[in-house]
């Protein structure tokens, strides 16, 4: 059974300038353990798709299930962790207490929360920064803390909305590498939004190429790359071939709009 399955999914926003078709007729199945990347220019609906899956937006057409449930039920069952574009750490909480926040909300006991916090901080290599406040950390470290927070509770799905968009390329490379290692270790299903082609190709088992006006899926690419991916795989023939296909897909989707 697919972890996330969309059938004929559509979302139209009613605005003062008339309807905006953020998503039209999206059919997609994300299997357990997949690393699926959504790529496309702004307005293509990649973030909207993730938000619909997370029950942060309501679809206006079609159906979507998360773990076989409606997004609302899935959210109530805490089926997913969501990482936003900005780290979204609370400035008045230390890193440790930021990570403990969802655990407090979900009613985990004090000892278990402490144990989980220690474990996820280790996972994102932030051990030793427990007592620091967000402003004392670099942007990359803040985003890692944010990922740790999404991992702290037992959600099998990780939805990430351009989590590394605001970071410089060197930090981004490192975090991409760490994310792959983390994915391999935890076996989670990851939905990842980006507008960087190399990032998409490097990370994914499947790449969903999307286009704007109306927001739609134009291509789904299965990656032939092995699960073990050192950074230099990005110079390999396979990698460049997929990147070219993604680029073609993006160009075809945009047409003469730009």
């Amino acid at each position: 059974m697919a972890v996330i399955e969309a059938r004929g999914l559509g979302l139209t926003f009613q605005t003062g300038d008339g309807p905006v078709h953020a998503l039209t007729d999206v059919n997609l199945a994300i299997e357990k353990g997949d690393f699926v990347t959504f790529i496309g220019p702004s307005g293509c609906g990649k973030t909207t798709f993730l938000r619909v899956a997370a029950d942060l937006e309501q679809p206006t057409a079609g159906t979507i299930t998360v773990n076989g449930m409606s997004p609302d039920e899935a959210r109530r069952n805490r089926a997913y962790g969501y990482v936003f574009q900005a780290a979204g750490l609370f400035p008045w909480r230390s890193i440790e207490r930021n990570i403990r926040l969802p655990l407090e909300i979900m009613g985990y006991g004090r000892d278990e929360a402490r144990e989980r916090t220690t474990r996820v901080l280790e996972l994102v290599e932030l051990t030793g920064f427990e007592k620091k406040y967000p402003w004392q950390l670099s942007g990359g470290m803040q985003q890692r803390a944010s990922i740790a927070r999404a991992l702290a509770f037992d959600a099998d799905i990780l939805l990430m909305d351009e989590p590394f968009g605001a970071l410089d390329e060197i930090v981004r490379d490192k975090l991409n590498e760490q994310l792959l290692a983390l994915w391999a270790r935890t076996g989670k299903t990851i939905g990842f939004v980006t507008h960087s082609i190399p990032e998409a190709v490097y990370l994914s088992t499947r790449i969903v190429v999307m286009s704007p006006r109306p927001g739609r899926v134009t291509d789904v690419i299965e990656s032939p790359l092995p699960q073990e991916r050192p950074l230099h795989i990005r110079e390999s023939h396979d990698f460049l071939e997929i990147a070219a296909r993604v680029r073609d897909g993006l160009r075809a989707g945009i047409g003469d709009d730009i």
Partner: protein, 316 residues
């Protein structure tokens, strides 16, 4: 030999003499002290000049009756030392303040400390009630759409009524209910102070970005969890900003509450009796006392703010 030593000693001495003031001078220029002192000095100069200008007619009148010609120096001396000047000079107010705070027992009716205490206690009760009311109103407005639509207009309307018009009515109504003394003044004080707190806290409780609210939603946080873990801490800076406005408004409210009651004690009563008897020096010293009190209250709120922020880890 001797003369050389004398010269060198003198140069050392003069060198030290120059270095000291120069260092102080540099510190004055670099810090805030110099601009602040300049403004204070300018205000004092303007005040003294104003005293000469406003009190001159009376001084000329007196001199004319006595058949004396007033020179400039005499004029200045006469305008700065009248018993009932239109505008008392700073030193007259200072002397009155000193006399009424330091030279009489603080429990005496003639002590400004006593009157300040009466006003302060009404202010404190009114401020406490006002802050509480403001926070509760803001929370209910933010959490409940019906409250937002129905209460907010009344909150704003309440402040369009001149407090001087409504204060006597509050006192009359409360007196008919048997409530007298400190409480009526505290109620007026509350009436003025709840508003800035309510408005500031509505903004503060709504200040978390949509992203943070979405985040709470992804964790399936309840309304009360979102309130206490996100909205409330996010509103803290707004809370203290509005408390500073609120505490000053509380003091004004307490003083106004003392005016129409025929109160015999409190800074407001002091101002009123001063105006009955033309005791401008008394009025001004009560005014200055009120200003000092307001500064202390705002400073106290600021101190609590700093301590709270430090405890929250948000160092400004």
């Amino acid at each position: 030999m001797t003369s050389e030593a004398g010269v060198s000693l003198r140069s050392v001495a003069s060198g030290a003499g120059v270095a000291g003031p120069a260092r102080i001078g540099r510190r004055l220029v670099q810090g805030n002290a110099l601009p602040v002192l300049t403004v204070v000095a300018a205000l004092v100069v303007i005040w003294y000049a104003g005293a000469v200008w406003l009190n001159a007619p009376w001084a000329y009148d007196q001199a004319g009756r006595a058949g004396v010609e007033l020179g400039p120096v005499d004029l200045v001396a006469a305008t700065w030392s009248q018993d009932r000047p239109r505008l008392p000079a700073p030193h007259q107010v200072g002397a009155e303040l000193w006399r009424t705070t330091m030279e009489v027992a603080p429990t005496s009716r003639r002590s400004l400390v006593y009157h300040a205490w009466i006003t302060l206690s009404a202010t404190a009760v009114g401020f406490g009630l006002g802050a509480l009311l403001g926070v509760v109103l803001a929370a209910s407005i933010v959490l409940n759409r019906a409250m937002d639509a129905s209460v907010m207009p009344w909150v704003i309307a309440s402040q369009t009524i001149p407090i001087l018009a409504i204060a006597p009515m509050i006192i009359v109504v409360l007196a008919s209910l048997g409530v007298t003394g400190l409480m009526p003044k505290a109620v007026i004080s509350m009436y003025l102070s709840f508003f800035p707190v309510a408005v500031g806290m509505v903004k503060g409780l709504r200040s978390p970005e949509p992203m943070l609210m979405d985040q709470m939603r992804t964790w399936n946080a309840s309304t009360s969890q979102t309130f206490w873990k996100l909205r409330w801490p996010a509103a803290v800076p707004y809370l203290f900003a509005s408390l500073k406005v609120g505490v000053a408004a509380s003091l004004v409210g307490a003083i106004i509450g003392e005016l129409p009651t025929g109160a015999v004690a409190g800074l407001g009563a002091r101002m009123l009796s001063g105006s009955y008897f033309g005791q401008t020096v008394q009025i001004w010293s009560a005014l200055v006392m009120a200003a000092i009190l307001a500064a202390c209250l705002v400073g106290a709120v600021g101190l609590v703010e700093r301590l709270t922020k430090r405890a929250m880890g948000v160092v400004a």
